[in-house]
Symmetry: C2
Subunit: 432 residues, 2 copies
């Protein structure tokens, strides 16, 4: 277990069951030829693109490799499905929601298999229940517990390309679960981990991970190598390139992740163990998340029990609370916390049911989170001071703050996000 | 086994496994309360309609019944999915095709469950793999072999409404299969048979089975009761109201089928054993099928072996040949046969690969099949004479003919279909 594992939640465990796999006698060479290739929604966003993906897979196979494909739903499809469900009841969460949204991947893997067949490549579409991608039962945010590799290895041994539906799993009762938006990355890295591979390819619509979102920061640069730890922070902090859980699994199982462009035949960003990176800048990237909402509650009782109960109820409903701050008022306390904008209706429901009527709730919608991330921050004190100086110089007010060994995050007004991102990117010498 | 069973194919068998079911001690009463309700594509064609269906199910449940819902894909959805696949390769058939088109039902049952939840009715979406709806592996035309009732009965016992994806099954290897267009009817009747029920409700967008298609024959009337045997013929002959296999299963297992309108609260047509109908007209209905194609091959060798081989190759590809005729030419023979228009590309592929180059193939696309059906035909000779006289009087040319004890079918020019249908409907005293 490498050092990144300590960042992983305690209950993380990915059981690998390949005991019954019938790998050929030259098992090592066989495994070395397997390559997991994950294609995101834009990569399979049209019939033309699906045929491009099939051609890419066919070429790889012609070169003697054994591709395993993991695919997302066609771009726009998951949103369409979510909207259908929301038309009936936007607050519903449960097995039907996951079954609904998981259908998009079923369509895209079927189409990829048809496109491969057209090229003469035998392929098989595989859903989570067929592959035994077992998760917990936290619908719409499920976590993978184990993957059987028997079917997968048998398919590969038969010379057939497995084309796996990303994003979905099944719980103990074989109900469909989903892993949260972006979860196909996690499916791919978990499949690579289960197959005991050292790497996994994530094909997407950007050529690499950037030092900031180029739409916000025109001087952003591509990052050739990033540590798992940094990427995990960036994914948690709003970078949309990778699903955070995929990076956790990559770190724990030593699966290096290669983020690259589907339609450009060149290297992108490698996410690797920190020890494999020679030199780190102080800050590796500036990350933002515009989909943030802050709730301010006052006055509330000061007892920890009250606050603990509130956060435990939120957690039961599947809300991940991000930054929390508490401050004393003349009478009682003020509690402020941020959540992802998607969870706003859920939080409002919980607060309405939980809070005594005298507690006033203020919701801040026009905010965003800006962060700097870098393992180099460990050895360079004073980063926080520079971070806040930059924002102060620009007259940007900070609502909430949180820091870790390798990141600083602040909630600011959303209309100052561009300014803040550019100034921080420049301050930490990341500009091209 | 009633007399209709002799019409069933020899290999038909629907194993009913309810041995391990934990039905409550008042098992008989429990079973009497179960009612299978199947909703077609137009019945779930919009969010509003899905909410109507949920209200209908909730009302039934409030009256103490135990509804089991079986649903089709939202109208238009299966066509959309088929079109996606066809954009890549219209000739592809295999597991990926079935997985593709089966996704539509996954969406509709999830939405129905969300709509039921909104009304406070606990419900569970169930896919074929969860329910053990086992079929053979004839992709896109699979036949149900058995249904486990354990999950279903457990769900009912728990007070939860099972909402089952129609149209789909799984084969022995747990790949998704589909039952052919309209196959959700078959899912519903098979579920009712597995639960050993005496009836099944099929909700659709027409109020009943008509004596002819009212769009062709304005004087068509509703039929209150039809025998299984007649409905089987009508479904085979182009009536779109019920999937033919659903009627076979109903006949074999004594599941009466009630065809009724989703949005009109009144009785429609009951499909029942012939013995339950007091008096039969000579002809019960005039049925047509505009989606027919005739192939004419000449000259071909006269040996039965050649023709047998051709039809066996077509059958292997999943083509059902309908009417066949052979006639002698000066040199060799002419073979003509009709198939459903959907199979035209498949037939063309088979013929191109199979036939010697000297055989000329003529394809007639502008044809249709017109039929009269009625168990009364058994006791009334001369129906065929009247049938052909009517067509002759109208100057309508007959390309191919076939008859059975209870039906006469002819292939005619498609532009004479309306004339033929109206004239036959009038001749056999079916006009309102």
């Amino acid at each position: 277990m490498d050092r990144h594992a300590e960042l992983l939640p305690r209950n993380f465990s990915l059981r690998v069951d390949s005991s019954r796999a019938s790998t050929p006698s030259n098992g090592v060479e066989f495994r070395d030829r397997i390559i997991v290739k994950k294609f995101g929604g834009t990569s399979v966003g049209s019939i033309e693109r699906i045929e491009h993906v099939a051609a890419l897979v066919a070429r790889e196979r012609a070169q003697g490799r054994l591709p395993v494909v993991v695919a997302s739903a066609m771009s726009g499809e998951t949103n369409r499905l979510v909207a259908l469900g929301n038309q009936i009841d936007p607050s519903y969460r449960g097995p039907a929601y996951d079954m609904l949204v998981a259908s998009g991947e079923q369509v895209s893997i079927a189409l990829i298999v048809i496109a491969l067949a057209k090229l003469g490549v035998p392929a098989k579409p595989l859903l989570a229940y067929q592959l035994g991608i077992e998760t917990d039962s936290v619908y719409s945010k499920a976590r993978i517990k184990s993957i059987r590799t028997k079917e997968l290895e048998a398919t590969l041994v038969a010379g057939v390309v497995p084309v796996i539906a990303g994003f979905q799993g099944v719980d103990e009762e074989y109900n469909i679960t989903t892993l949260g938006r972006g979860g196909s990355d996690t499916s791919a890295v978990a499949v690579a981990a289960a197959l005991q591979l050292g790497a996994c390819e994530i094909y997407t619509d950007v050529p690499a991970v950037f030092s900031a979102d180029p739409r916000l920061v025109p001087k952003a640069r591509e990052i050739p190598r990033l540590s798992f730890e940094e990427m995990m922070e960036m994914a948690s902090l709003g970078s949309k390139v990778l699903h955070v859980r995929s990076v956790e699994i990559g770190a724990k199982h030593g699966v290096r992740i290669h983020v690259r462009h589907t339609f450009q035949d060149r290297e992108g960003t490698w996410i690797v163990p920190e020890g494999e990176i020679m030199e780190n800048p102080v800050v590796s990237a500036v990350t933002h998340d515009a989909a943030t909402v802050v709730f301010k509650l006052a006055p509330i009782p000061g007892e920890t029990a009250f606050i603990a109960k509130l956060f435990s109820v939120l957690s039961e409903k599947g809300v991940s609370v991000d930054i929390i701050s508490q401050s004393q008022l003349e009478r009682g306390y003020r509690l402020a916390f941020s959540v992802t904008a998607e969870d706003e209706p859920l939080v409002k429901n919980v607060l309405a049911a939980f809070l005594p009527s005298e507690v006033k709730v203020e919701t801040l919608n026009d905010v965003a989170k800006i962060s700097t991330v870098g393992v180099g921050m460990r050895n360079h004190p004073g980063v926080a001071a520079r971070f806040f100086s930059v924002l102060a110089d620009k007259g940007i007010q900070v609502q909430l703050v949180t820091t870790s060994e390798i990141k600083i995050s602040a909630i600011i007004d959303r209309d100052r996000l561009d300014d803040a991102a550019r100034a921080l990117h420049s301050e930490f010498s990341l500009d091209i």
